[in-house]
Symmetry: C2
Subunit: 114 residues, 2 copies
DNA sequence: TATGAACATGAAAAATTCTTCAAATCAAGA
DNA sequence: TCTTGATTTGAAGAATTTTTCATGTTCATA
């Protein structure tokens, strides 16, 4: 009973769909990091971060290993960077469009006020 | 009060994180399509599809226009294709890894049984 | 203008996901 | 061994998202 591909994709995107998880992935693009460092950069409760890390671990996007007192995380799929970049491209172009729309709306409003 | 970028990204990915929405986007990559055609390809209730289309419209990923009796949808950001492709790459490589893992587990099990 | 097909919408119930809190684990050092 | 810092875990309640159903719209055509 293989999970249909489109469902696997949906699950994959859904795991990217959380602000803390996105920040973690972006930080990890620069290289492996211990939890306490992530914790310092992203300002959330330790247990909350831990829960999100668990989500990323389950999907296999990151792996962790303990080094003494500290647990270090890293991306397991380096291509994640490409994905985030592609997303950024779309997103900025969409935000630009929205910005233009917004500008037009404001313009229209000014016109109306005369 | 601009929405922090990482939050915008998370929202963006979350809208991709639904099987019906993914299928819609993939179908629309091949070109514009009327709702009833999407409906035939994806087998869900009409109102359900409609709700998901509404989500995609709100995020600005698709646009629709009525042509007589029919409403035609299309991708508003053609780069969505790139994104889906990047995702597919990661996903398949991850699935392959999992497949290997699975194979090892089965192997280990066989070993154990001897 | 009455009817029907194609879609959309609003709202409530059902299902998932998030956040938070208390408690547990693990390794290092006193 | 006791303590402490680092991190994880389980569970419960809060918040969001999905699904579903009934009802609207819109346009074409009889």
């Amino acid at each position: 009973m293989p999970v249909p591909l489109y469902q696997a994709k949906a699950e994959f995107f859904r795991t990217l769909g959380h602000p803390v998880r996105i920040r973690v992935l972006e930080l990890l693009q620069e290289g492996p990091r211990p939890v306490h460092e992530l914790l310092a950069d992203i300002g959330v409760e330790a247990s909350n971060l831990s829960q999100q890390l668990a989500v990323l671990r389950r999907t296999g996007l990151v792996v962790s290993h303990r080094e003494g007192n500290v647990v270090r995380y890293e991306l397991s799929a380096p291509q994640v960077g490409d994905l985030l970049r592609a997303a950024r491209t779309i997103l900025t172009s969409m935000l630009v469009d929205q910005g233009e729309l917004l500008a037009e709306l404001r313009e229209a409003e000014r016109e109306g006020q005369r």
